[in-house]
């Protein structure tokens, strides 16, 4: 990183006006230094300061926001080579491929799968985000019609893969509001395609046969004012693509090569015909730096593990996964159902809620915000003790949902039961098992409302 937060701060207006989205110039300077913000967010920097800071503060890998029918997909903006150094910022977008020579039923099946394969885990929405549309029919109307259909029927971001400029222009017109990604700019079609991209403000994929050629292309693009660039190194073997991906990540981060500081796109489907291998290759590039991964088709048994792998890679290793505070109803509880409380460490939540499901006894599970810490850790840190649990019980509204006043606490919190009885005089405090695995026998043997 060229400048530290403090050095950047010296050039900012020091008014703490908050227009940049954070409350102080210092906080903004720190985000700039970390490559997480853009100088343009501060409306008041002087031109002189701008010139000084622009170069130093631009994120090494440009963050790009891709329009979808849902919330925008952010890619790029990475600041490290390895997750443990800080964190990986933006998960790669996953695209399904369709082409205008596919039978109508096949296209529908794929778009259905695109909509169908969504999963919720740890309060996160796991889903594919993009549809890549390939021009192969030689009929511009067919291509445009397909682009229009994808826009109308899905909320996916769109990638248009097309060499023919007339066909491209038609398809862009058919899905213009979705701001499709144009694939791709080469030395040969440079003027025509950049003209279209500039006119409509669209992101482009730059495609070169080597990294040098790619760097040359992005330099020309940035000079034209096109900055939303995605890179395709042209490689279609696992080995070469892997090498290129690593080089493209290292160059801007370690050697400040701005011309390669953009997210990338990969096509595992063009590296193998075997769907299982394709999924494995996709997983490889999930870890190794792809910004967009285009899959030749979706199937639940390969897409789901990929989505989970992506979630796991892109969580912040410095922050424990946490579940939202609140009342979780398991199995349709009623006013006589048991009330059980635990911490909001995600793993605890999953294990405890799973065990409650296994008992087949409907119950209310109260999740108290412990900043993602486990029961014992939170207790040791003073975040899961009687004086913080009691106010939560009072305000969460559980008293309106059940007739009884019995609260089951984790066995490890036994020492808090006295304190809780004092703070919650209406409630009887029951000490549950220490291990979630013993919940079934505990509830079966002891629970009476």
């Amino acid at each position: 990183m060229a400048l530290t937060g403090i050095e950047i701060f010296k050039h900012l207006p020091k008014t703490n006006c908050g227009k940049c989205g954070v409350p102080t110039c210092l906080a903004f300077a720190m985000s700039l230094a970390a490559g997480k913000a853009e100088l343009a967010s501060c409306p008041s920097v002087s031109d002189e300061a701008k010139a000084k800071l622009e170069e130093a503060s631009a994120p090494p890998i440009r963050p790009i926001s891709i329009v979808t029918g849902d919330k925008p997909l952010k890619i790029g903006g990475e600041t490290v080579l390895f997750r443990h150094e800080k964190r990986l910022e933006n998960p790669p977008g996953i695209a399904i491929l369709i082409s205008d020579t596919m039978a109508e039923t096949e296209v529908s099946r794929r778009l259905q799968n695109f909509k169908k394969f969504r999963y919720e885990r740890v309060g996160m929405d796991l889903r594919p985000e993009l549809v890549a549309i390939k021009y192969a029919s030689g009929k511009p109307e067919a291509f445009a019609a397909l682009a229009g259909k994808v826009k109308a029927e899905t909320d996916g971001g769109i990638i248009l893969i097309c060499e023919d400029m007339a066909a491209m222009a038609g398809a862009v017109a058919a899905c213009a509001e979705r701001k499709p990604i144009l694939y791709g700019v080469t030395g040969a079609n440079f003027d025509a395609l950049t003209g279209l991209a500039k006119e409509k403000g669209l992101p482009v994929v730059a495609k070169g046969a080597s990294l040098d050629e790619l760097g040359g292309l992005t330099d020309r693009l940035t000079k034209l004012g096109i900055k939303d660039i995605i890179l395709d190194s042209g490689a279609r073997s696992l080995k070469q693509t892997y090498t290129d991906q690593v080089s493209i990540r290292r160059a801007p981060l370690l050697n400040k090569v701005r011309s390669l500081g953009f997210p990338t796109i990969v096509f595992p489907g063009e590296m193998t015909d075997n769907p299982l291998k394709e999924a494995l290759i996709a997983a490889t590039f999930m870890a190794k730096y792809a910004g967009i991964i285009v899959l030749s088709d979706f199937s639940g048994e390969t897409l789901f593990p990929l989505l989970v792998a992506r979630m796991n890679l892109f969580t912040d290793p410095q922050r424990p996964l946490a579940t939202g505070e609140g009342i979780y109803e398991i199995g349709g509880p009623n006013e006589n159902s048991p009330v059980i409380i635990t911490c909001n460490f995600s793993l605890t939540y999953f294990i405890v809620s799973g065990e409650i499901e296994n008992t087949r006894m409907p119950a209310y599970l109260l999740i108290k915000d412990t900043e993602g810490l486990s029961v014992m850790t939170a207790w040791a840190a003073g975040k899961f003790s009687a004086d913080s649990i009691a106010p939560f019980i009072k305000k969460c509204g559980i008293a309106d949902k059940v007739k009884h006043r019995k609260l089951i606490i984790p066995g490890y919190l036994a020492s808090e039961s006295g304190g809780l009885e004092e703070e919650l005089p209406d409630w009887e405090i029951l000490i549950g098992p220490r291990e979630a695995a013993h919940l079934t026998s505990y509830l079966k043997n002891t629970w009476k409302s």
């Binding site: 530290t4 937060g5 922050r319």
Partner: protein
């Protein structure tokens, strides 16, 4: 008792936090406890005697590079090796000039407040906004992970009361905003404490500046921080 940094030749390292902040190295001296608050110089020495190959290794401080900032050649060499080449030097007593690396488990984070010409510190139990514009969690995310971040440093609560706390910038005379209430009173400088703002005075620099001026806080008239 009363060992001082000057009269001690051997400091101790602590590498426990490398499990999640691989380039972080704590070097603990008699007047600077580990930033988690759990390890002082004596603890490290004891730990080393119990387990000579453990995370606490003796660090001969060697030649003094800068006495005011707190930089020694032996310490630098050790840090360079222990961080596997990621960090080649740091200063014990400064927040502005290449402060010590920060892992993730610091008890408090000190940050400069440029408008007030002073330094604030916030402990990990304070969840609200602080005058520097970042909450503890944001600060921790920005400066943690084993990097040196000029203007910010993690430290233990006890460290505030130690003689060398940020002494290169003027020590606790620079403290303009403190976020640990009871602890602050234990510091034994009642008059200074009254002049330091806490969250009841304000949570932005603009709010606390008039207070500091009215109370004639020493930082207002000290040499500019930057």
């Amino acid at each position: 008792m009363c060992k001082t940094d000057e009269t001690t030749e051997i400091y101790y390292s602590c590498l426990l936090c490398q499990s999640f902040a691989p380039s972080h190295v704590c070097v603990v001296s008699p007047e600077r406890t580990g930033l988690c608050g759990s390890y002082n110089w004596m603890d490290c020495k004891a730990s080393n005697e119990i387990n000579p190959t453990g995370p606490n290794q003796p660090v001969p401080k060697g030649e003094t590079i800068d006495a005011r900032l707190g930089q020694w050649k032996g310490v630098n060499d050790f840090v360079f090796k222990a961080s596997r080449g990621k960090v080649d030097h740091y200063n014990f007593y400064s927040i502005i000039n290449d402060p010590m690396t920060t892992c993730g488990c610091m008890e408090c984070i000190a940050a400069i407040l440029p408008i007030c010409n002073g330094i604030m510190t916030v402990n990990r139990d304070f969840m609200g906004m602080t005058p520097c514009g970042m909450k503890f969690t944001t600060l921790a995310g920005t400066i943690g992970g084993g990097i040196t971040t000029p203007g910010f440093v993690g430290h233990s609560k006890y460290n505030v009361a130690q003689r060398k706390f940020l002494i290169a910038e003027g020590g606790i005379k620079r403290l303009v905003a403190v976020r640990f209430n009871e602890r602050a009173k234990e510091l034994g400088i009642p008059d200074l404490m009254d002049r330091i703002a806490d969250e009841t005075i304000g949570t932005t620099e603009e709010e606390i500046l008039p207070f500091l001026t009215e109370k004639n806080h020493p930082a207002i008239t000290m040499d500019p921080l930057m």
